[in-house]
Amino acid sequence: MSKVILKVEDLRTSFFTRKGEVKAVDGVSFYVREGETFGIVGESGCGKTVTGLSILRLLPEPGGQIVGGKIIMDGTNLLELDKKEMRAYRGKVISMILQDPMSSLNPVYPIGDQIAEAVRLHQGLRDEMVQQEVISALRLLQIPTPEVILGDYPFQLSGGMRQRVVGAIAMSCHPRLLIADEPTTALDATIQAQYIALFKDVQKKTNVSIIFITHDFGVVANMCHRVAVMYAGKIVETASTSTIFKSPRHPYTSALIKSVPRLDRKDKRLYSIKGQPPSLLDLPPGCRFFPRCPMAKNVCREQEPPEVEVGDGHSVSCWGVK
């Protein structure tokens, strides 16, 4: 088994607002191995994106702050680096693709310049070499005729193409970890499938590790090796993709999987989880899923469930699991 390159331990990220402290990420731990795709799944507002941004230390300011934990990349705790050292990690070691890659390109520069910016920043190459790196990044993302497209402005490209260019920027400095924050959400289904295939191809060629943030279990099944399910700022269950689908142990995980529409079963109504996630300003003392949980017990109301290892690489935080 390949080695672990990223280890996140008890990460806590809060937003300090006028109403109080919003614990967007509250004690999240996971690791990512070299060359694997790790999925983070959960509904909107559960802290997936904030987790991703915390790894790069790019939280929205003012307000966003990492209040505790460790983020260890190749033995270095990123939270101990100063601003300049951290900048050297961004793009070069860890890169990210945003939720809406369509608007991630600067409208006033040709795309070649935008990829070159990243290359120049981290690799200190001469111009001809930069050009070559740019073209190879575009090739990696399977962009046809990169030499021609180089001079195009973002508005001259189609949506799918722009998305690949954003991927090329992210991959241009050969990062070891790529955080992809719902990159497929803005795409229609056919392009989505293409894009996922493209990601897999990029990963095969570069052995990059990917943290794939999504709310779509279909994408998880296609893309990820291991998955963490997040709920209200905490990871409730971590397991390999096949285990999650075959034997989910947390009631929230099974509820989520049940809510995915399926063509092969003729259910009358699509399953939905009753109620709403708790406010992150005012969390219940016990299990966060307790108010919506079909299997809630008394202990769930009073105490937070500990994380229990239930199988090989499969851990769950639920009182119902023994």
Partner: protein, 297 residues
């Protein structure tokens, strides 16, 4: 742009050849030509002016323009109280009035842009401090402060330039700050941060190029304002001292003689009006052109 990648675009069939020539649009063409002619006039003043601006001819005092009764084509726009040729002085006056406008714009737009981008992008305390400073500057009556400054330093060309610039940067700073604030949240700025771009580089390379449009519009609109302010300062005696001709001090010279020799004030006044109008038209045209919502109509 810093060190662009050499780009070879194989046979560009995309951009170009779809918009009509801007020279067919009169709202652009007329003000642009007017401003261009005035600039040429200013540059070639010694060649174009029939007389030196300070040549006194006591025998030809208060001659009316050629089309009025008693006028002559020797002094096409007439002469002033001490027999100086009004046309020559209007032509020379363009030098001072237009160069003051240009200098003041360079100074105020640069200061305003730098402060605006820093405040808007960095936000937080920097923003609060710079913007309160801007608000204070905006709260003062600009003309009075300029007048106070000019009066205490003593009139002169550079006094006028500095006096107008003193508070003139504030509207620029406020506008640019708003734009930068908007762009700060743009995804491409986030993307730049993700690849490790430094804040300075983001401001220079990603924010600045995207605020050039509103900046150009603001510049064209303030040309008129600056010339007017110079005229007001000169009119109030705190501007360009005689015998140098600026449009403002010419209007001032003719003020007391307006009922006997209307031409002394009128022609430089018209020149001021022309520049202000041309600047405003050009600014309006640019604003319409660069606003995508208006462009689609």
């Amino acid at each position: 742009m810093t060190g662009a990648v050499k780009i070879t675009n194989g046979g560009d069939i995309r951009g170009g050849a779809r918009r009509t020539s801007i020279f067919l649009q009169w709202t652009f063409f007329i003000p642009a030509v007017v401003l261009l002619l005035l600039v040429i006039m200013a540059i070639f003043a010694p060649v174009l002016a029939p007389y030196p601006y300070d040549q006194i001819a006591m025998s030809d005092r208060l001659m009316p323009p050629f089309f009025a009764e008693g006028g002559s084509t020797d002094h096409v726009l007439g002469t002033d109280l001490i027999g100086r040729d009004v046309l020559s002085r209007v032509i020379y006056g363009a030098r001072i009035s237009l160069s003051v406008a240009l200098l003041v714009i360079l100074i105020t737009a640069s200061i305003g842009t730098v402060l605006g981008i820093i405040a808007g992008y960095l936000g937080g305390r920097t923003d609060a401090f710079l913007m309160r400073f801007t608000d204070i500057s905006l709260a003062f009556p600009a003309i009075l402060i300029a007048l106070l400054f000019a009066a205490s330093i003593g009139p002169g060309y550079w006094t006028v330039v500095i006096a107008i610039s003193l508070l003139g940067w504030a509207p620029f700073a406020r506008l640019i700050r708003g734009e930068a604030l908007k762009l700060r949240e743009a995804d491409f700025v986030a993307q730049a941060r993700i690849i490790g771009t430094s804040p300075l580089r983001i401001m220079v390379r990603h924010i600045f190029p995207n605020i050039i449009n509103p900046l150009i519009i603001m510049v064209t609109l303030s040309v008129g304002m600056i010339i007017l302010t110079e005229a007001i300062l000169s009119f109030l005696g705190a501007g360009i001292p005689p015998p140098a001709a600026s449009w403002g001090n010419m209007v001032n010279d003719g003020r007391s003689l307006i009922d006997v020799a209307w031409w002394i004030s009128t022609f430089p006044g018209l020149a001021i009006g022309l520049v202000v109008l041309a600047g405003n038209f050009l600014g309006d045209w640019l604003r319409d052109k660069m606003d995508p919502r208006l462009r689609q109509i």
